[in-house]
Subunit: 148 residues, 8 copies
């Protein structure tokens, strides 16, 4: 099963999900999580731009090559919303995943529940902790539930 891990890049939630899936037949994809590289990849490769908006545009488009492939190949897209930043790209990925018919899992603190209600409504599981994401994936693949 291919799983795309979208969203927050400043905490180690991806590592926690991956660790929780140890022994499962899951291939994980995700965005480049080096913030500086992700922001500057466009101009670093294609040349500096004086206009910040074009600088951002070039980088976002290069990242989109990776992001779209990851989402399109995925069986399951997990989208993490943290407590910082606006994270519109995470919600954008969730919208793409929903429109493409991917199984969507959201991961966020309960206090974001109201603000994320449209996104959660498109999800097949709404998790609060990375371990829950791993438990869902383990159950889906093996039928095993976590010990009570």
């Amino acid at each position: 099963m291919r799983v795309y891990l979208s969203g927050e890049i400043h905490t180690d939630w991806r590592d926690a999900v991956i660790a929780g899936c140890e022994g499962l037949d899951v291939a994980f994809d995700g965005p480049v999580t080096d913030h500086a590289a992700s922001d500057d990849c466009g101009v670093a490769i294609l040349g500096a731009k004086p206009d910040k908006r074009w600088h951002d545009r070039l980088g976002a488009q290069v990242n989109a090559i990776r992001t779209r492939r990851g989402i399109e190949r995925a069986d399951v897209v997990v989208v993490r919303f943290g407590t910082e930043y606006r994270q519109w790209n995470a919600a954008f990925d969730a919208g793409m995943a929903a429109a493409l018919g991917k199984s969507l899992i959201t991961l966020h603190p309960p206090e974001h529940g109201h603000a994320l209600k449209e996104v959660d409504a498109a999800a097949l599981a709404v998790c609060e902790a990375p371990a829950q994401v791993a438990d869902v994936l383990r159950y889906v693949l093996t039928g095993a539930l976590p010990a009570a």
Copy 2:
């Protein structure tokens, strides 16, 4: 041409876009913009739920019937990001629009440019004012540009 106006519901930007398109053959759709009705539609019709999350889920799903139809029928999806609220639903709509191959136009203050760079990178026009959205639609339909 069908245009879906997604996003911010607390300012009159939709009216401004629609007024700017006077005389054009455009049909506009959009979400229910009565905030209270939008939040409570699920329980108002289907019955009260003690759990806030289920309350939200019921409402978001009922709204999704309108939203998805509006986006799927649209030729152009305009997504407005204002200065308040997290507006994850707006970014979610933008992701759906992009995945469905709709022409996407974003509308937001320039200071949101960096946070919205992934969304803007999927857009065919990034506007700062509703009049620009109307000008784009007018040009696309008639070839006429705004007076210099």
Copy 3:
């Protein structure tokens, strides 16, 4: 908006939904609700068959011309499960609607909730009364909620 009304044909729930939508811009489709005609249409037109299974097959295929067109053209598919018969065709229609990305509304007594949990999980609204279906459609089209 096109709405396909699938399922139970022995009660007047379709009339109730349609009456509840008075004044709305909704076009309704549905199966042939004359039970005898629906069962015998194949052999009535194409000739009698000695084998009951072939008799059934001919009829089911002729009805499928109507059913599939109705579902494919619909924005919303409402599926009613009553208290009699096995109604596998209703669940089959719901599965087609879900796979085609239609907005699905289910309508059934609460006591069927557990047996229908997989179908309800794919629905955007789960109703117990035809009036609720009409209320959902009215809200989706106009934003108006039923009087409290």
Copy 4:
């Protein structure tokens, strides 16, 4: 060839089909067949819910991650209808399979033929015994027919 085995979980029909396909290049998928785990997976992972309907909803959605992937990846979907329970989820899976263009095989006692006529009409083979399903798969892959 990938084959998804949908439906009844209380008899050993899946084992019979798989045993009958010994030596063939077939990969089988199917739902979680532990009834209790399947019913409770949602709350076991995501937390208890006081409302039975939400309990069911959470579980059905988690199971849908597995079910939809299994059906979408399958070349052939076999749907078994037994003599107990309402089995609406089986008919729902059959509808999804038909809409997705999968080759559908049904498996049920002949006395269900009339009630299942719409489902059977979408199937490429209607079987009464698991051995017939295996015989169909063997013929499709190798051209070999069962000994007369």
Copy 5:
């Protein structure tokens, strides 16, 4: 409902179907039925070709503009196989219709049943007379069966 009438062009079966549908809301499409025009349209418009195969290719491609549009827009594709000519183009149209998910109706004498078994197996109704085609369309649209 749009119905495409494919196949045999040397008898008046299309007139019979259309007459049988009097009063129904059906729009009929079909190929150009002037045999000489159909054969020569390519070179008549684009210039004579010395090579018969290119002559045929030019004409077949021009006709394909009409044929494919007719089939793609149709809800129902009726394919008539007569007793003369090889009619491979009729079977080709049937294959296109099946792959596009159109409701397929075949119309042919019973003696062609074995030779057409693969085509008939993809059809939702197999008719022997144009009146049966009209009866199917009338039932599908109105629920009315022919008088016994």
Copy 6:
């Protein structure tokens, strides 16, 4: 029938095709043919850019809203290659049309035949004069051939 007229904007070939289709039920679309407006639409609406490449990008993206809609709605896409300019956008439109399964008609002088062989190979008619395009459309819609 909807026909999109793509390509060369400096001659009156569109007028000639349209005039040749007088009396036919054809709706024509096409790009903005005012060269200056087409080049400058982006910055005229969205604000001047110092970098010529961004200037061009903004304009091309705004024009794409019109172009893609026109091609996606079309039954037939006619692509004209003239004798001046590189006209890569015309070939790009042809590639889009082919990938979307549109009926493609090319229109160009015979001396471009070798350079356009890949594009012509995807076309259902290769014309040298606008009158031939009109003759093809007339035949496709009415079956009438030009007087010999």
Copy 7:
């Protein structure tokens, strides 16, 4: 590359194509070529039917499981029309292949050219001998042309 070899089952043309592709990375699929097994597979597995039409229907549907999978997985579909039988199933397969966007190659004696002009017009190569089919596949994969 996957190649589906459709059509005539009474000559050794498949062996000739396969032999001509020796050393190439091609996987071949095709129908069951045992005529008796192909005709009787339905009743041999699912039970005898007194009605010849139903006998044929059951067999054709079982064969369709194999045929559709083979065509859907193929990159290239080769359809052979021989000099005997009506071969409507071959033309049906060609229509399916064309509608699914497969690269179509036809193989038939030149005297069938006029009767097959619609099918040939959808093909990317029209061959007269199996060796030509192999030569096309070899060139497509390796760029090597047959020795002059």
Copy 8:
């Protein structure tokens, strides 16, 4: 990741891209780059044609078997526009790639920027040198940026 390298066949840009991707998990496809073989493959296999246009047509169609498969299988399509020839086939490939939702990278000298603005506007990266293409692919797969 699969990458299709389309366009110019007279310089060694493909070798440069491939060399720059050393060590990456990338599979490259592309057209036959032997100009004479590419021009003559049709008649070399299928027999000489006196008419140059048919000669070209046969060859272009045989090449299309390879080209379309390469583009359809690709995650990323790179299209190179050189300084010679009209290269309409390169722009045609770019249009196909865009319509199929492939990530498009263009590669051309900056002086072609204005003439290619519609193609570049559909691209996720616009490169001037093969090394930049390789850098984009390396970053997309590994997150590594070129040394400053």
